[in-house]
Amino acid sequence: MSITSLDDAAWDSPWRRRPVGEKVALSIGLILVALCTPAWPGTLFVSLIALAAILGFARIRPRALAQAMAAPIVFLILGGVSVLVSVGTTKDPATVWWHGGIFSIGPVSARQAADLVAHGLAGTLALMILALTTPMVDLLTWMRRLHVPDALLEIANLTYRLIFVLLDTVFTAHEAQKCRLGDAPAGRLNGYRRRFENTAALMGSVGVRAWARSNRLNDGLVNRGFEDALVTLPVQRSGSWTFKLVTLLVIAGSWAACWPIAGRLWR
């Protein structure tokens, strides 16, 4: 996955023009459902709704979603496996399905593992509704309403802008190093020692340039009239009552629907 593919999707998303608040409500609401309801069937409902919202309504390319989900899925599998396999001497081998040495797999550990994977998958999918449709800058501008101090939001906004400037620097400088065999120097263990030095030189030079750039950007902004605040236009987006209503119904409905199937509303 390219490091900017989620961001690219967010900027090009057809939902970009929706009010940020609506998207936050849907995404966070579904995360709450995924967290609070029993794994069966709550997380299934959330996953399906999130998939429908992302791929169906927000028309995000399936590829972008697949790329976004790859890393969390690896984490969930690793986590799931470590939960599934229990360690220690079992008191009663009859209660486990399989055991070998100090390892065993039983109904409790299996349920835990399934919970972990199901909650994780549903939660991440729900979060992706926001991540794939809302550029960071929109979210941060919206957060002014939450009375987060402006200075903090300005720092976050500058961070966001600078991430892309620095990423460009890192990729280009790394490529330049590779051209001169920086990643494959001669020597023992594929030039392990020099590779370390080269990586440190890369990080160091990017760091030094980042620092110089922050000074230049500060000068540039002072020149534009920056004294103590970086005020910009508020985001103006017209909301939709239908969207708000559907969000409410979907969240309440999926939560309530757990009752007849699982017999409870809490996990």
Binding site: L6, L121, L127, V170, L189, G204
Partner: protein, 207 residues
């Protein structure tokens, strides 16, 4: 290594948010104070945040071929002090969650606690202790980076263990499992970052 969205229970999410909150608020206050007197610090702090984020795009050299990326909280702790790192670290974690699907929002409290609070404080403590004991700078930096990484990884493992205690050996058994399964990537990472820290500071001293 961040805990993915959704896998901690609501109670745990709330507890870790509550645990992280005082540190983050303290850090945020510190930041607001710093930029009030010196608006140019906004750019500097943003650059530090962006740099920490971008570091995770640099692949560390490794013998095994597994890919690992530096966390950089140790450097940040030395340069900006742990309180500021608590705030910057949380910003970076939000960005990682939304731009890389790495971590999450409900687990933000837990991840902030491990990466932006425990890591920098422990690393910084090792840095200060080594300096106080008259140890060389290189050793102080090395220990700071190694233990910033290492403590983050230990705290995360315990957070997962509390959430998913082992049916037979309990929380400690589960912690052992998580510690060992992630050790493959995390211990070499911590050591690599320590070495890198020395080389980095040596590089910066020359420039």
């Amino acid at each position: 290594m961040h805990i993915a969205e959704g896998i901690l229970s609501p109670t745990e999410c709330a507890v870790w948010y509550a645990a992280a909150a005082p540190f983050v608020i303290h850090g945020a206050r510190e930041v607001v104070k710093q930029v009030k007197d010196h608006p140019e610090n906004k750019l500097l702090l943003a650059t530090a945040g962006a740099f920490t984020f971008v570091l995770s795009a640099i692949k560390l050299p490794s013998v095994s071929g597994s890919s690992s990326h530096p966390t950089g909280t140790g450097v940040g702790a030395v340069l900006f002090k742990p309180p500021v790192m608590a705030f910057l670290g949380m910003i970076v974690l939000i960005f990682q969650a939304l731009l890389l699907a790495h971590g999450g929002i409900s687990t933000l409290g837990a991840n902030t606690f491990s990466m932006a609070i425990a890591g920098p404080w422990v690393g910084y403590a090792f840095y200060k202790l080594t300096k106080k004991a008259g140890g060389p700078d290189a050793l102080a930096i090395f220990l700071c980076m190694v233990f910033a990484d290492f403590s983050t990884y230990c705290v995360t493992s315990f957070q997962l263990a509390i959430a998913f205690p082992d049916p037979t050996s309990g929380i400690m058994g589960a912690a052992g499992k998580f510690l060992s399964i992630f050790a493959v990537t995390q211990i070499p990472l911590a050591l690599a970052e320590g070495v890198l820290g020395i080389l980095l500071f040596r590089f910066l001293a020359k420039v």
